[in-house]
């Protein structure tokens, strides 16, 4: 599936089909929105730092949703924040992906019963591509989540958004 498996011909020309080329470009530069919510955001920042180095997968934070490809929902989503997140998501341009990081944004986490202020899962507001379990997930888990997202993008076709 990798782009470089394709045939090289004379004159440094790579032959690939458009779908593979586009998918390879997209999955190799998943620019995330610089956006964190709670303790998961600390782990997300640790993942971006040199020890785990998110950048080696092409993930770099962008400061505006209009230039971002992915948003990592990293933390407890309050009802107040959910409205803002929805707006941020709507401001991102297609194709856009969502990683839900940690128990809180997956399903409400420890606030599932008595959290009067917490949205019980970000998927009630926006569509999620990859769920990363944990409270908070270790950086390895978030990296695994990113690899899953890359796998998803690699299998996309131009006709259907994802498989």
């Amino acid at each position: 599936m990798g782009l470089l498996d394709k045939e090289f011909s004379e004159g440094n020309i790579v032959i690939a089909n458009v779908e593979d080329l586009l998918n390879w470009a997209r999955l190799s530069s998943v620019w995330q929105l610089g956006f964190g919510l709670a303790c998961c955001a600390i782990e997300m920042m640790a993942t971006s730092m040199s020890h785990y180095d998110f950048d080696r997968f092409g993930v770099i934070p962008r400061n505006t949703p209009r230039q971002a490809d992915a948003i990592i929902i990293s933390g407890t989503v309050t009802l107040k924040m959910a409205i803002r997140i929805k707006r941020l998501y709507e401001q991102m341009s297609e194709p856009k992906y969502i990683i839900s990081m940690g128990s809180c944004s997956n399903c409400g986490g420890p606030y599932w019963q008595h959290g009067y202020h917490v949205l019980k899962g970000i998927d009630r507001v926006i569509p999620v591509d990859v769920y990363v379990p944990g409270c908070p997930p270790r950086p390895e888990a978030l990296l695994e989540g990113l690899l899953k997202l890359q796998e998803k993008i690699r299998n996309e076709s131009l006709r259907v958004k994802s498989t």
Partner: protein, 182 residues
């Protein structure tokens, strides 16, 4: 430095009808009960009297005493009628190094308490929080808005779902189209 009994006696001399009582049988600090509609004058006195000098309001907390008549509903939830909501004031004097706790109780159906915002400025946000989460109305507060919950929460909440730290609180079904319960 004065102990709780001396403070209580000094207060009763100056405000005999505003001071409800002294409770010494508490685990941590003795509590002086005050009339909720006269707490402002009492606070002002506590701050300005030279033997008291309570210059610091360490904390102001609202409490649902849940001491009214409780009715169990079919779904297991409870409704409380009557009883009181209380506000506790933890005071400290930095210069004289003594402490006291005040308490006011207001009826649950119409909880009105005088604001002490112009005695201790830090009471402003504390009172907004007690108003937001318990529905205690602070009279003469300059800016009594919700502080934590969304401003438009009331539009989506019934009476029982307006103030989340009341003991008989129930979640509204939806807020801005988002389902609230699990």
């Amino acid at each position: 430095m004065m102990n709780a009994e001396e403070i209580f006696n000094l207060l009763t001399q100056n405000f005999n009808n505003a001071i409800v009582g002294l409770d010494k049988d508490t685990p941590v600090e003795p509590i002086i009960s005050v009339d909720p509609l006269q707490i402002h004058n009492v606070s002002k006195f506590l701050r300005e009297n030279e033997n008291l000098q309570f210059d610091s309001l360490m904390c102001l907390s609202g409490v649902d005493d849940a001491n009214g008549e409780k009715t169990k509903l079919e779904d297991g939830s409870e409704i409380i009628k009557g009883g009181t909501l209380s506000v506790y004031y933890n005071l400290h004097s930095v210069s004289l190094k003594h402490k006291i706790t005040l308490k006011v109780s207001a009826p649950r159906e119409d909880p009105k308490v005088e604001s002490v915002e112009n005695v201790w400025k830090c009471a402003n946000w504390h009172e907004r929080e007690a108003f937001d989460l318990l529905g205690i109305v602070f009279l003469n507060h300059p800016d009594l808005r919700r502080i934590l919950m969304p401003y438009d929460w009331d539009d989506f909440a019934e009476d029982i779902s307006k103030h989340p730290l009341r003991k008989d609180y129930q979640n509204p079904e939806f807020y801005q189209g988002m389902k609230v319960p699990y």
